[in-house]
């Protein structure tokens, strides 16, 4: 690399002009704690995977650096009926293998994402049909009026129909059938980067797509990308400090100071969109894991309030998160659709008041309860639970902490086999509506399984239905505010914080950090 730089430098001197120097090869090497599970963009609807795939494939519409919607493969869109959206497609776009991008690719992609084996149900579940109007126009029919359709489909990238048909990848891989799929290891998108080689769990190499339609409007200079998963925190940090990586994430909170002091790299932090909170069983008449028999103390609002007052969020921020968190009063991060700062205040830390409320509710000596917690899902998740347990103990509530790997924890939570738990939530569609639908409607009213404590309020349920189909932005915001206000007033949940995004970046590398933790290679410039 040095030689290339010196060579081009010499050439520039000889020629006496610098503008004429061709773009030099810049390899961007980065590590994440895990790997993308498959090169098939529909295999897993999970944040890191969808972000990675959007470097190779493109959606109809995409997010810009500030999470605002901008056109990608679609140039314009309009509502032509209450449930019908018409998209005009971009002209002259080619897939990496030279095939041209047309309406039939869009129709094909939506159908494939809905097929058995694809994990895109949360993005395409509400889509009734996709129809090709002409080669450059597509109609999307939704099952219900959907005010946030654009957010919903933004992560869904478009695949090439001809390529999939030629390679037997029309259907996504179905693990149960014991058959491999071409798309697991190969790609053919329209995006800025092409797949060069793929060794799952070891190394994935991409190179610039010089024919990308948007290349002229961008200023990045990365030409090659090497991705290595590094699971061990210490090794990831060491690899950054030794100069073997240009970027790695997440940078472990305990290493942030050391990285910043090293002089070779810095940690780029910003609030993430995921909110960490505590949930409480409010549906059973007797808690499953508690010393209180015959009744459920968590059904008493005063008890929930007391637990909220017991929490010292600043101590959690300072001691556990080492400053890398934003205390939250809502289960919705700033920057997400529907956020209202006026509602984001917290109940104050007040152990005295907590004790008084517990006594008033009939528990002057407190009680015992089990707190379930994942230990490998969120930043310092187990430590947060330990500290929370200590804070509860100070007001008389003794916590039996059960911290388990996410595979065990999530299975338990999904069954609502839980009395109190710690969870993080980030809405796939970046919108408040789905937070309410997933977490604030009880299962009895058609709510979804992740409302682990079965919190419910008839008015919130009603509002949730209205929010789903309200197209007037102002009215919709009023409904969202009302719903969040009620949940807050009920103390349905105890919000804790948004953990910080934490990217270790080598000096000389400039990158835009998007709040949804998506690393887009066309935001990167290497000096």
């Amino acid at each position: 690399m040095n030689r290339i730089i010196r060579l081009t430098g010499a050439l520039a001197l000889v020629a006496g002009v610098s503008a004429a120097v061709p773009a030099q090869a810049e390899t961007f090497r980065f590590a994440f704690q895990g790997d993308v599970s498959s090169m098939d963009p529909y295999a897993l609807a999970e944040n890191f995977s969808t972000a990675f795939h959007s470097n190779i494939h493109e959606p109809l519409i995409r997010y810009d650096e500030n999470l605002q919607i901008e056109p990608a493969l679609a140039v314009s869109w309009e509502l032509v009926g209450p449930k019908t959206w018409r998209f005009k497609l971009r002209e002259g776009v080619k897939f990496h293998n030279g095939n041209s991008f047309d309406a039939d690719d869009v129709v094909f992609s939506f159908k494939r994402a809905q097929a058995e084996g694809a994990d895109m149900s949360s993005y395409v579940g509400g889509i009734a049909d996709v129809v090709e109007v002409d080669a450059r126009t597509v109609d999307l029919m939704t099952t219900d009026v959907n005010p946030i359709l654009l957010n919903t489909i933004a992560p869904l990238v478009i695949m090439d129909k001809q390529w999939a048909e030629a390679n037997g990848a029309v259907e996504p891989v179905n693990v149960g059938k014991n058959i491999e799929n071409y798309a697991t290891l190969h790609t053919n998108g329209t995006g800025p980067f092409k797949l060069v080689s793929r060794e799952p769990g070891v190394k994935t190499v991409l190179t610039l797509n010089k024919d990308w339609w948007d290349l002229g409007n961008q200023t990045f200079n990365v030409t090659d990308v090497v991705m290595t998963p590094i699971g061990s925190d210490a090794t990831r940090t060491a690899a950054l400090l030794s100069g073997e990586l240009d970027l790695m994430f997440p940078a472990p909170v305990q290493d942030v100071e050391r990285i910043n002091a090293s002089g070779v790299a810095t940690v780029l932090q910003g609030p993430e969109l995921r909110t960490i909170f505590l949930g409480m069983d409010q549906e059973r008449d007797e808690l499953l894991y508690s010393s209180v028999k015959g009744k459920n103390p968590l059904k008493d609002k005063r008890v929930r309030q007391a637990l909220y007052h017991a929490i010292d969020i600043d101590a959690i921020k300072a001691k556990v998160m080492r400053g890398a968190s934003t205390p939250a009063g809502l289960l919705l991060a700033p920057k997400l659709g529907g956020f209202n700062d006026a509602l984001n205040g917290r109940l104050a830390h007040d152990p005295g008041k907590a004790k008084a409320l517990l006594a008033e509710a009939g528990y002057p000596d407190g009680f015992d309860i089990q707190l379930d917690c994942p230990n490998n899902r969120y930043v310092n998740d187990e430590q947060i639970c330990q500290v929370v347990a200590g804070m509860f103990a100070r007001v008389g509530v003794n916590v039996n902490l059960l911290a388990q790997p996410k595979s065990k924890f999530f299975a338990k939570l999904k069954e609502h086999d839980i009395s109190m738990y710690l969870l993080g939530w980030i809405p796939d569609d970046q919108d408040a509506g789905s937070v309410i639908a997933h977490l604030m409607v009880p299962p009895a009213d058609g709510g979804l399984a992740w409302n682990g404590g079965g919190y419910g309020n008839p008015r919130v349920t009603e509002l949730s239905r209205m929010i789903t189909s309200e197209v007037d932005a102002e009215k919709r915001q009023a409904m969202i505010d009302e719903a969040f206000g009620i949940v807050k007033d009920d103390v349905g949940y105890i919000p804790l914080h948004q953990q910080a995004l934490s990217w270790g970046v080598r000096k000389g590398v400039t990158v835009a950090q998007r709040s949804d933790n998506a690393l887009q290679f066309w935001y990167i410039t290497i000096e």
């Binding site: 590590a31 949360s122 149960g176 697991t184 769990g201 699971g231 996410k406 595979s407």
Partner: protein
Amino acid sequence: MISFILSRISQSFLVMLGVAVISFSLFTYVGDPITNLVGIQSSDEHRERLRESLGLNDPVLVQFARFVGRAVQLEFGISYQQKRKVSSIIAERLPATLELSFLSAMIALWIGIPAGIFTALYRDSWLSHMVLSLSLIGVSLPTFLIGILLIFVFSVHLRWLPSFGRGEIVDLGFWTTGFLTASGLKALILPSITLALFQMTLIMRMVRSEMLEVLRADFIKFAHARGLPDRVVHFSYALMNTLIPVITITGLQLGSIIAFAIITETVFQWPGVGLMFIQAISEVDIPVMSTYLLLIASFFVIINLVVDLLYYFVDPRLRVGRRT
């Protein structure tokens, strides 16, 4: 001899079956594989369909029978996470582990045995004392700590050697090797030292104590009295007589080098089967986990068999005993 081998092989199958039973019954405790196969907002119907298609609703015994039935035909299924054949994933990953283990075993032997002999012959020299004290570090520090220390000294501060990965590898079709490129060799140094350190110490201390014992034996005194040169006494008589336990332990340790490469591979992000196993556990990738455990069990079984056979060559008494 042949009947001996045959009986060992049939025993081996029982061992493998036992391993399969135990590992499979453990899998019911690692958690729900579906959690790692779908995004958090996937619908319950989608999850249930997936569970049904993977056969996870069947009783554990049925799942086990299915696994064994397939394994007998050398068919290990498809990885839940990578969506590829487990056999091809292992074929990709195994060379990395075997090269690392091989090099570590070589380091352990070629340093461990000479150091053991030296410290036995010159047990009062300051060098022996130093080697012995240093070797205490090898047994007392946990592997991951040694790995991290080496990374911080040689990668972060001195920047001589890479902190992770295999470097550039050459693909020979059936095998990928790091021995043929400079960066591949450099990448091998730190992990192989980390992995070898414990075994090296063990071998050294064992050779030393065996050697000390043998040196005190009557036949060594007679050999000296007969006027044989020291070199012959030490290496032809004393060393040969210490080697039996060394071979046993080294053989068994070779199995553990491969099995315990897990920790070293995790620290150095070494793309071998150990790292694959750790990743599989955190993702509850049952086909990968069960195949790995069977593979490691078969390594142990084969190594034990080879060790038993080696006795024949090292210890003449065994050969004589069988013949009479």
